[in-house]
């Protein structure tokens, strides 16, 4: 019946396709939510569209695999047989199974293929390669050992092959400091604090599980430069961490006092209001605090990092110097920003996770706004500057997802984002901007295969990923978990060979 419905869809959309003289050849770079939603919408909108999805990894799905925390609760909704993560993966896998869609894993834009290669080969190129770097704090000592970006730490516990060697030392200290109070900060803090037996049945990377089992970390400080009214996390994630079993949560009641400007923010912002309520409740609720070795979570507000303090050896971090802040209204935006007060305090710790935001990286030939870390665009159409400094549209080049909007938003946000970009592609296509009126059509997939062959580059098709998937699940089953992730490049490529 699934077939039948799909077939039904073809019947419906065929009406639109008579306009297409030859297929519209679309290349999407990045197979995260933004890439897959774009492919899905593209294939549905245009029966004559042929879509190739490239990813630098042998595995698809971007942060759905390597970002989303392994310990989010399984869905409790009885009528749903699966977790929502699996639901999303299934949706994306159905897109990949479409006969007009192909996946090319292990193909890196920038090394395996260049942007100009792709633009020559495809009618439309959609960049959806996310944000794979980090915002810097720019304070002294940032390079000391024991300091990691949350991205590295997350990739490590989620088994991303680029970070299987990160191996943070969790045994030399009882205190970790997480800088930032967004949802990623809450994720990493929760992984450090969650009882190990609750992680054992998840698909967390085996090396991380081993390390966390031996972890001596008992205290985690979540440090925000602003107050509880401005915390960047959302209620769902906050509720999750506050609900950890036997966790002692510390919030200074004085930090909960609100100014008139805070009240104004609370009035306007529903998320802020609900997050603030959770903080207030947690600060006043009675907690048992006499369990031996009990883990503690400290929310520290109004503190910004001033410098990292080296240990005696000089190589690793032994603490963070924090400057107290107060909030000041920032004229035009009405936003309250943190300003230093000149008062400092030191916080001892042996591990620091910087969770102050992700950042995209440009590739050769791509217009890029360094300041905002995004590709300048108009509804997904990539913009560049001509000699007179006027913004012009780069024909046939599009962007979506975190690379387009910056590193914010949940998985579903990318669905709307993809919708907007696909609407732009369709409009340009209708206006004849994407297909040459004369000359031979662009080669699309054939051209890509040729380039890969010339470079002797080996790509991983979706069926290759399915072999990885099967192997991971089988090995997981033996350990009573959803999967045992393969975490190195060599082993991933070996699994593809079956």
């Amino acid at each position: 019946m699934g077939q039948l419905l799909l077939h039904g869809w073809k019947l419906i959309s065929r009406g639109f396709s008579s306009l297409t003289p030859h297929p519209l050849r679309v290349c999407i770079v990045g197979s995260g939510p933004a890439g897959f939603y774009t492919a899905e919408k593209m294939l549905k909108a245009l029966d004559g569209a042929e879509v190739d999805i490239l990813d630098r990894l042998p595995t698809p799905f971007g942060l759905v695999r390597s970002g989303v925390a392994p310990d989010h609760p399984e869905t409790k909704l009885s009528h749903l047989p699966e977790t929502w993560k699996q639901i999303v993966v299934n949706q994306f896998s159905r897109v990949a199974a479409n006969e007009r869609c192909s996946f090319f894993g292990n193909v890196n834009l920038g090394t395996t293929v260049s942007l100009s290669d792709l633009c020559k080969m495809y009618d439309a190129v959609v960049l959806a390669y996310g944000a794979e770097s980090d915002r810097y704090l720019g304070v002294p000592g940032e390079d000391l050992g024991g300091i990691y970006s949350a991205r590295e730490f997350v990739w490590w516990y989620n088994g991303h092959p680029d970070c299987s060697n990160v191996s943070p030392d969790l045994k030399n200290t009882d205190t970790a400091v997480v800088l930032g109070q967004g949802n990623v900060a809450l994720d990493v803090a929760r992984i450090l604090l969650r009882p190990i037996n609750e992680l054992e049945t998840t698909d967390i990377a085996e090396h991380a599980l081993t390390s966390l089992r031996e972890s001596t970390i008992r205290k985690v400080y979540l440090v925000g430069r602003r107050g509880p009214v401005q915390a960047a996390c959302t209620a769902k994630e906050l509720r999750e961490i506050l609900g950890i079993k036997d966790l002692h949560v510390c919030i200074q009641k004085a930090d909960l006092l609100t100014s008139a400007a805070d009240e104004e923010e609370l009035k306007k912002g529903r998320i802020q209001r609900r997050v603030y309520e959770l903080f207030s409740k947690a600060a006043t609720s009675h907690q048992q605090h006499d369990i031996v070795g009990q883990r503690e979570l400290h929310f520290m507000f109004f503190r910004k990092p001033d410098r990292f303090l080296p240990s005696e050896s000089g190589n690793t971090v032994s603490g963070v110097r924090l400057e107290k802040t107060c909030l000041k209204e920032n004229g035009a935006s009405g936003k309250q920003v943190a300003v230093g007060t000149g008062q400092f305090e030191d916080l001892k710790c042996g591990l620091v996770l910087k969770s102050v935001g992700y950042k995209s990286v440009p590739v050769d030939g791509l217009p890029f706004d360094e300041y905002r870390g995004v590709v300048p665009n108009m509804k997904g159409r990539v913009l560049s500057l001509d000699q007179a400094e006027h913004a012009i549209v780069e024909k046939g080049l599009y962007v979506t997802g975190w690379l387009k909007r910056g590193p914010t938003g949940i998985i579903a946000t990318n669905l709307y984002c993809a919708e907007e970009t696909v609407a732009s592609i369709l409009e340009d296509f209708k206006n004849g901007l994407l297909t040459p009126s004369s000359g031979s059509p662009k080669p699309g997939r054939q051209g890509l295969l040729q380039v890969l062959e010339n470079k002797n580059a080996r790509f991983v098709p979706f069926s290759g990923w399915e072999k990885i998937d099967t192997k991971e699940r089988m090995e997981g089953e033996l350990r009573n978990k959803p999967r045992k992730k393969i975490t190195t490049w060599e082993e991933l490529l070996l699994a593809v060979d079956g």
Binding site: I12, E40, K41, T75, Q91
Partner: protein
């Protein structure tokens, strides 16, 4: 069952030239699984279309719900008791997403109850629903998640609006720099 689905499929194809554009549709195989689920759990017969008033009985098997899309177009549909508005919308080709298929992880099934009296007849949203509503585009005082609103007799005649397109991701105030 097979046949009735087939005919419904036919209907869907026939209807398609109508008001809702084909490009905005949700996931097909998902529709399918929702159908199945429905058939199994709600013993809802696909042949029952329209309100069924049994003589001398107050019991209704379906209720009427009107969906108003972004352009203000209205569509009146029958929703079997016990079915979520998300499933009902999908069965009737209404342009409502539902990316997480009802697992309370996305808020793309956001609907606005147009009449406060109907809104009050709904059970209070759970914390989990509120958590996702927080993230919905164009939230209003009477917003709900379509996957959590379940048809019950008191809701007969309810009108639900799909939130207007407030999804502008264009880069505000972008000042291009040379590259």
């Amino acid at each position: 069952m097979f046949l009735s689905r087939l005919s419904r499929l036919g209907l869907r194809i026939a209807k398609d030239s109508g008001q809702f554009s084909a490009t905005k549709r949700g996931y097909f195989s998902r529709h399918f699984s929702h159908n199945l689920h429905l058939v199994n759990n709600c013993s809802f017969s696909t042949t029952t279309i329209g309100n069924v008033h049994e003589e001398g009985s107050e019991q209704k098997e379906t209720i009427s719900v009107t969906f108003v899309n972004k352009d203000g177009e209205e569509k009146l549909i029958k929703v079997p008791i016990g079915m979520s508005m998300l499933e009902a919308a999908h069965q009737n080709d209404i342009d409502l997403e539902g990316a997480c298929e009802g697992s309370l992880a996305c808020s793309t099934c956001h609907v606005i109850v147009m009449d406060v009296d109907y809104y009050k007849k709904l059970e209070e949203p759970t914390d989990e629903e509120n958590d996702m509503l927080d993230l919905a585009f164009g939230l209003t005082e009477t917003s709900r998640l379509g996957c959590q609103v379940i048809a019950k007799p008191e809701l007969d005649g309810m009108r639900l609006a799909l939130p207007a397109a407030t999804r502008n991701f264009a880069v505000d105030g972008f000042k291009p720099k040379p590259h």
